[in-house]
């Protein structure tokens, strides 16, 4: 069986490679915030000079939207850790369901950073703005990233249950099980993400203008989410286990 886990540092490195430009851009240029967060007025006119859209956001609402953005992402992450810890509570000892939860959330933060970083770059070079729909995209990406991660973890749990009774404790049995699980689920992980990416692609190409960047954010996030479930979340578990065994 192909040993994926041998390359875990490579996978982490690739992740870093993708995140770093975004992080750098965030630090240097920040995000182009829309009036949803900063408050202000936007008036859009069509070619004939008619006003077709007019939006005004007072500072109170702007502040609230910003606060809500942070609260909702924080709450979602917390809820997910709790949920995974609960769903994987019968994971055989000594593996901890909490580690699964935290690994999933770290993978999820990776995805959020990728999307936010890319949009910082887009904001700087193409003036793409972050609005409250963007926050919606981030939350959806969080939900989907975990969705995908759970599919992988589920298989790991099933294989652990199968292999463990027959005398465990070989330090790399965990690594082996995770590896097997990944190879087994690779097909379906990729396929399920592919179908979602197809529908998002259709929206990007043919959908309405006002949700265009919203869908792009979803697309990037789902793509990243698939990668992080397979190449971040699982290897992270292995890394922890190896450190623990030392």
């Amino acid at each position: 069986m192909f040993d994926l886990m041998r390359y875990k540092y490579l996978f982490f490195f690739i992740s870093l490679l993708v995140i770093l430009p975004g992080l750098f851009s965030l630090a240097r240029y920040g995000l182009k915030l829309s009036i949803d967060f900063t408050g202000g007025t936007v008036i859009e006119k069509n070619a004939g000079g008619e006003v077709i859209r007019s939006e005004l956001v007072g500072p109170v609402i702007g502040r609230e939207t910003t606060q809500n953005a942070f609260y909702s992402v924080g709450l979602a992450s917390l809820a997910i850790i709790l949920y995974i810890a609960y769903a994987f509570r019968e994971i055989p000892k000594p593996y901890s369901p909490w580690k699964f939860g935290v690994a999933a959330v770290i993978a999820l933060f990776h995805d959020v950073l990728v999307v936010v970083g890319i949009f910082s770059l887009l904001g700087h070079f193409y003036n793409v703005q972050i609005d409250s729909l963007f926050v919606t995209a981030i939350l959806t990406v969080i939900g989907f990233s975990v969705h995908d991660t759970i599919v992988v973890f589920d298989r790991i749990r099933e294989n652990l249950r199968k292999t463990l009774p027959a005398g465990r404790q070989a330090p790399d049995i965990f690594t082996q099980v995770v590896n097997e699980s990944l190879v087994q689920t690779l097909g379906r992980s990729l396929t399920t993400s592919l179908t979602v990416l197809f529908t998002l692609l259709a929206l990007i190409l043919f959908g309405g203008q006002s949700i265009h960047w919203f869908v792009v954010a979803l697309f990037v996030g789902v793509f990243s989410g698939t990668y992080s479930s397979i190449f971040n979340a699982a290897p992270l578990l292995v890394l922890w286990e190896e450190k623990r065994m030392k």
């Binding site: 006003v51 005004l56 609260y71 995974i84 399920t192 197809f198 006002s210 949700i211």
Partner: protein, 440 residues
Amino acid sequence: MKRYLFWFVVLLTILAVIVDLPKSLPPVKFNIGNIKFDWKITRPSLDQNIFGTNFTRDLEIKQGLDLAGGAYLVFQADMDKLNPSDKDSALESLKGIIERRVNLYGISEPVVQTSKVAGDYRVIVELAGVTNVGQAIELVGKTADLSFREASSGANVATSSAFGPFTVLTDLTGKDLKIAKPAFNTQTGQPIVELTFNSDGAKKFEDMTRRDLNKQLAIFLDDQLLMAPTIQSVISGGQAIITGSFTADQTKQFAILLNSGALPAPVHVIEQRIIGATLGQESINKSLVAGAVGLAIVALFMIGSYGLLGFFADVALVIYSLLVLAIFKLVPVTLTLAGIAGFILSIGMAVDANILIFERMKEEIRWGRNKMAAIELGFTRALPSIRDSNISSLITCVILYWFGTGPIRGFAVTLAIGILLSLFTAVTVTRTFLRTFSKN
């Protein structure tokens, strides 16, 4: 049992199609031999009495503001000058006044809601179908200070003041005016403005008319003179009529302006979003195309990857789309542009469950099970995975709904409905088809 499940699915699909049809279809005309057929089919709407509650649905898609065009306004009331015990009732009367003002414009199905957020008192107004953006902006108007002033009785008529000769502020203010209405004189048919004062105001008004009989009474909105009618009689009872050479439009405008000053507490706009209708229509058309294309790509992909199984999954997917659409019409769910995106996204996610099941089936066959067993095992073994992974998406939908407004809620709702329904169709519909058609 399994036989019934199949026909249940068929029945459900037919019902869904009926609900999904647009209200009027193009007439069906054809000839067979010498017999002519000319049918006009209209889709019925729902009007049933179920268990004592009336259940009426017109089965049209309810469009959100970003699709139908319209205005979304949030007013915040400045309650500082009021007693804490009065604040709630002031908010309620504010809501009432704004509702009446909105109704003057004849907007269909306006939504006026109050909201108390962390000590802030707000009124949220949604006006669908206001296509003229400029008109909607006017409607927001100035919600300002309405004052009634008399001309100074002294000799020093200060014409340099902003209020002209009307320098004496009476104690009659906007708070005392209950409502102003445009109307027509029953005898002459001339457009007039009717004023109704509340009980406090009626008394003050009576005193004022007695004091200023045959003199002018100036009505100011902020520092703008609205009108200065002459008081022709002493008026008690709080009902007054203002006559003049007004057009019907002018009386309407006056009423609106007078009402805008008649608020128990000053309000200001803290959020205002106005979208023209054409933008929404374009978006709908584009989304339809995107949805169709997305569905097609996924369908082809499934057949390519799983062959006949994929075809069954595709049929399940089409049934799924019909069912979701029907639910949108039945609830009814207010559809926003983001909501449509959520629906299309859920199509991609709906097929997920099928993929998990099929992959599992392939594995079971690889491990030596026969086809029927593989089908059953595929479903039962994949189910925990499907359930757990979809719950996380549902958690984020709940959070999105809780923290979001308008379009964001639309997205959360459509995605959640999509996920829940996809669980149903993946398990029930696909399973049923596989069982039914695998008997060979």
